[in-house]
């Protein structure tokens, strides 16, 4: 009965999240349940063979890959399981530290629910119905982004509002698409549907100028919670966007569409970088690095027909590490220094007091910026190498985009190693207040950055299957 991929990776997690919601006050129990279940779901997603038949000893368990609900089909094939495994891996990683970092007591339950909702979004057919699920994810995220005890932030409301505005654009395009299929040469319909799809995705991906909720939510919400939501959202939306090009030949054959995507990616990288370089609030860095990474994801999609998509799986693990590292360090700094107001310029002397956290922060920022020997470098280098010659146009904007991320990184390094303002001398050289957990986390993080930088294929192998459902996108016609 339960040997169905939809039941295992969607319905069981949804039911479990309901149980966890009832157990939210029992922190250890609910954390144990979510960790065990997400670990099992991750492992099963990665080990299930191509034919969906699992052999345990002499027994063979065959898994069905679809389920009908309300007359529509939910389908999770082996080709989708890499992403599913990746999403549950994030649930596992983020939940393992969630209670220690004092996130909302709903985090265990809602993180599992949000993960399964994203998987529904990727599994529902017709896939355009996913737009309503994505709005549902936004609404379900509210208690995590704006927990009780804090004032309702305008950022969360703006986030939900923008997701609500994006949903009709995609749904209306779905309705128009049915007409395009019957009259493929209808130029007016194609133009309308394209505008609706690209507009909907621009809002979903928080591209400039509809990115304003990102820094607001970054400032208002718990960084650990936000980083979880952002990493799952970015990975799922990127794959969802590729589905459109895979499914609709008219879309991928539009004149200049790939060029537009490349420019959108470079523009996003540049704007994110510009905003990063002027940023003073450490909490907002996460938001702008999200925008920066979205730019690279768009660039990879824009370079799909030159092989750019192959570097998308390469960027998944560095992104997970980068977001987790940055958000963990911000939370820990705020815990250890209650008087720290989040201003980068007030990080003076922190390197001498918190060497592990400071080194972790520096390596995270350098890795996210794409510096050599660190995790993000291989994917970003390959993508830049694929750029077609554009008379220095794209290259110039990309270099400017790179400069902004480096400026903020070096501003932070400068602040960290500067002596504290009072007395202008380094009186305390002995690290203090840093728990053993922080030292272990930061050391492992830096080690993983280096390993991913030197041997990118170690982790990219895990997510290689993300591209398995896509075959048509590489075709020119």
């Amino acid at each position: 009965m339960i040997n169905n991929t939809v039941i295992i990776w969607i319905l069981i997690p949804v039911a479990l999240s309901g149980i966890l919601a009832l157990l939210q006050r029992f922190a250890k129990l609910s954390t144990a349940i979510v960790l065990v279940s997400s670990a099992l779901l991750t492992v099963l997603a990665f080990i299930l063979p191509e034919d969906l038949i699992l052999s345990i000893g002499s027994r063979q368990i065959a898994f069905a890959d679809s389920l009908e609900i309300f007359g529509r089909v939910l389908k999770i094939t082996k080709a989708n399981l890499s992403l599913v495994g990746g999403i549950y891996l994030c649930v596992f990683l983020w939940n393992s530290l969630a209670r220690k970092l004092e996130t909302s007591q709903w985090f265990n339950a809602l993180s599992l629910l949000i993960a399964s909702l994203w998987i529904i979004a990727l599994a529902v057919q017709p896939f355009l119905y996913a737009s309503v699920i994505i709005l549902l994810v936004a609404v379900v995220s509210i208690p995590l982004l704006s927990p009780r005890g804090s004032r309702s932030g305008a950022g969360v409301l703006r986030y939900v509002t923008l997701q609500a505005i994006a949903m009709p654009l995609i749904l209306l395009s779905a309705w128009m698409l049915s007409d395009i299929e019957t009259a493929p040469s209808a130029n007016a319909l194609i133009l309308r549907a394209t505008v609706l799809i690209l507009g909907g995705f621009a809002i979903w991906l928080a591209l400039f100028p509809v990115h304003t909720w990102l820094p607001m939510v970054g400032q208002e919400s718990h960084p650990w919670t936000l980083s979880f939501l952002l990493v799952v959202m970015q990975s799922s939306l990127t794959v969802f966007f590729i589905y459109f090009f895979e499914e609709y030949a008219w879309l991928r054959n539009l004149p200049n569409i790939w060029k537009i995507l490349r420019w959108a990616g470079i523009g996003t990288i540049f704007i994110a970088s510009l905003l990063l370089s002027f940023q003073n609030q450490i909490r907002r860095l996460l938001a702008y690095f999200y925008l920066w990474e979205t730019g690279y994801a768009l660039l990879a999609i824009g370079l799909a027909q030159d092989g750019g998509l192959h570097y998308l799986p390469l960027i998944f693990m560095p992104r997970i590490l980068g977001y987790a590292g940055l958000s963990y360090i911000i939370v820990k700094l705020e815990h250890l220094e209650p008087d720290f107001d989040g201003n980068i310029n007030n990080l003076k002397g922190f390197f001498h007091r918190y060497p592990f956290l400071s080194l972790g922060l520096i390596s995270t920022l350098l890795s996210l910026s794409g510096l050599p020997i660190l995790a993000s470098f291989p994917a970003k280098r390959h993508l830049i190498n694929l750029l077609p010659w554009s008379g220095y146009g794209m290259e110039t904007w990309l270099i400017l985009g790179f400069a902004g991320a480096l400026i903020v990184t070096f501003r932070i390094i400068y602040a960290l190693i500067s002596p504290p303002e009072e007395g202008q001398t380094i009186t305390i050289l002995v690290p203090h207040k840093e728990e053993i957990g922080i030292a272990i986390f930061c050391t492992v993080l830096m080690f993983l950055f280096l390993i991913s930088g030197f041997f990118p294929s170690i982790f990219s192998g895990l997510f290689k299957g993300i591209l398995a459902p896509f075959k048509n996108i590489y075709l020119f016609n």
């Binding site: 609404v139 004032r151 309702s152 305008a154 939900v160 505005i165 309308r192």
Partner: protein, 199 residues
């Protein structure tokens, strides 16, 4: 008779949305939201029977009730005496909405012919009017109660339009869940703000 009823529903629905946009009197706003949903029920296409329209109105009224009960039980928003005099901001929002509705009325025949031939003029005017007034409300108000009312207005307008184009049971179920969750989120924001205000 049917034409008269439909016209009356479209006008009443738009006036209710307009009242929600212009005034900040919570009881009045909740009542206007409920009226809006009743008007949507009247205009909603009934080619497959009353059931779909009935689901819409029940979900809408339940959402309204969730917000009403939360405000009433917590006393979160103060009850103020009703005034007929409009402030400059209220007048501005009202005039903007009137301008948008006029545009919708003028553009609807063309939209009906060129873009949404499956729909009808009543649905088109009410749905686009509600969606645009909802958007205006989302852009012009920051208090969580009014943002939630704006969201519900915007979504109800879109659902009405989409209901005239295509029907899917799964989509209807998802819309119902989204509406109810948005109303619960509204209740959550109201309670949360009250908790942080109370020392």
């Amino acid at each position: 008779m049917t034409k008269f009823l439909l016209t009356a529903a479209v006008i009443t629905g738009l006036l209710a949305a307009l009242a929600n946009l212009a005034r900040r009197k919570w009881l009045f706003n909740i009542l206007a939201l409920a009226i809006q949903y009743v008007c949507i029920f009247i205009v909603f296409p009934k080619t497959d029977g009353f059931l779909h329209a009935l689901i819409k109105v029940i979900v809408g009224l339940m959402s309204t009730l969730i917000i009403f009960l939360t405000i009433q039980s917590t006393g979160a928003v103060k009850r103020e005496p009703f005034e007929f005099k409009l402030s400059a901001g209220e007048l501005f929002r009202m005039l903007s909405a009137v301008f948008l509705v006029t545009l919708v009325v003028l553009a609807s025949p063309w939209l009906l012919k060129e873009v949404f031939p499956q729909s009808n003029i009543y649905i088109l005017i009410l749905s686009l009017g509600l969606a645009l007034i909802g958007l205006l409300q989302l852009g012009s108000k920051t208090e969580s109660l009014y943002v939630i009312i704006g969201l519900l207005t915007f979504l109800s307008g879109f659902e009405l339009l989409y209901g005239s184009l295509e029907f899917s049971a799964l989509l209807e179920a998802l819309f119902a869940i989204v509406n109810l969750l948005i109303a619960i989120a509204g209740a959550f924001f109201i309670v949360k703000d009250l908790e942080t205000e109370t020392p």
